[in-house]
Symmetry: C2
Subunit: 216 residues, 2 copies
Amino acid sequence: MPVQAKKRPREQGVSKTRIQQINQARILDAAEEVFAHNGFRGAVLERIAERAGISKANLLYYFKSKKILYEAVLQHTVETWLVPLEALDAADEPAAAFERYIRIKIEHSRIHPLASKVWANELIHGAPHIGQYLKRRLKPLIDEKARIIEGWIKQGKMAPVDPYHLFFIIWAATQTYADFGNQAAIVKGKAQLTKQDFEDAADTVTTIILKGTGMI
Amino acid sequence: MPVQAKKRPREQGVSKTRIQQINQARILDAAEEVFAHNGFRGAVLERIAERAGISKANLLYYFKSKKILYEAVLQHTVETWLVPLEALDAADEPAAAFERYIRIKIEHSRIHPLASKVWANELIHGAPHIGQYLKRRLKPLIDEKARIIEGWIKQGKMAPVDPYHLFFIIWAATQTYADFGNQAAIVKGKAQLTKQDFEDAADTVTTIILKGTGMI
DNA sequence: CGCATTTTTGACCAAAAGGTCAAAAATTGG
DNA sequence: CCAATTTTTGACCTTTTGGTCAAAAATGCG
């Protein structure tokens, strides 16, 4: 009989068992939470398995190593991170386009703070696991969107602003409500930010960015 | 002879030996770097000691535990973080005050990115070591500064903006160049941000904030 | 039902890492 | 120069934790 890779859930992109679907999704969810709260080194597989309701050995059956699991979480995170950005369209009016983008990002911070934290953590530590991917995927996308902004500027639809720095500021201002939501809550004297806080945040950020760049 | 605490560098705030001064400073520097790059759990004492040019046992002689060392680094970080904020004065013109604040914060991001990263890391993970301190020290300070901003708004010197969110946005936009400088560099297609990048950042952030809040 | 495949897990292992300790080395003060 | 104090460190201990493995349990299928 041929020496073949047996065991281990399907290596190739072949269809997944129902059990695999459920368990992998559960593990990914649990991992996101534990990685978000403790970082890569701080995350403990035993704890992730516990959260997912399975044994550590079983977890390792689905994801061969901690690193592989972490990268799976990151991958998922990045993809959802990029979605709203791709929607920026040259045919839009800049004010409407950016308002939408900002509101979606802040809503994302509210709904998925853990994903944002995992992402932030990876970046703070120098993007050791995903730097290459960013170069190949994020950079070209931003370059493309920067050109759209330059087009808007040329058409006099907004003030001349460095498109790259504009993105950095928007990312920072919107994600801060997920990554550093704790600090914001402390400063506001509450245990957690409320939905109202996020709405106020969206209003404030939107106004400052639109007015600050002459879109309105 | 009385049972006394001997050994261990002076417990009380008593004067420090020259050797203590040098070694503690070296350790703190090394620790800042290692904690910034690896987070609390990820940081390895052996590595910090190595960077400081001493043995691990000697490091433990100066700081009794990893936690105590980490908190010492955090303490130092927070204090420098608060300094520029305290300078915000009601007697200033808002435009000048905020421009100065923003430029100082971005310069700080450029010069001390490691301190910013340690800080960011602590906040992302929920400020487990320094949350209480923030409640007692940061919150009152921000409350005070928020009142100054409200005064400026009442005097018609700037548009009505939620002062808290304004701070969150400024912190985010300025610190992003330290915490996520890697991402910014990747997007800009370079290995590291240059001094020019930071100057452009300061200009862009300043313009957007001042125009966005009607200060200019 | 009975055999093959997939899933699950308890028992282990080895490496990493925080922390202790006693003794040596260096420094200081008289 | 000598004794007391401070500083430094190698050796060691213990706990934690990522990962392995063989065997059992569950599932799927003809």
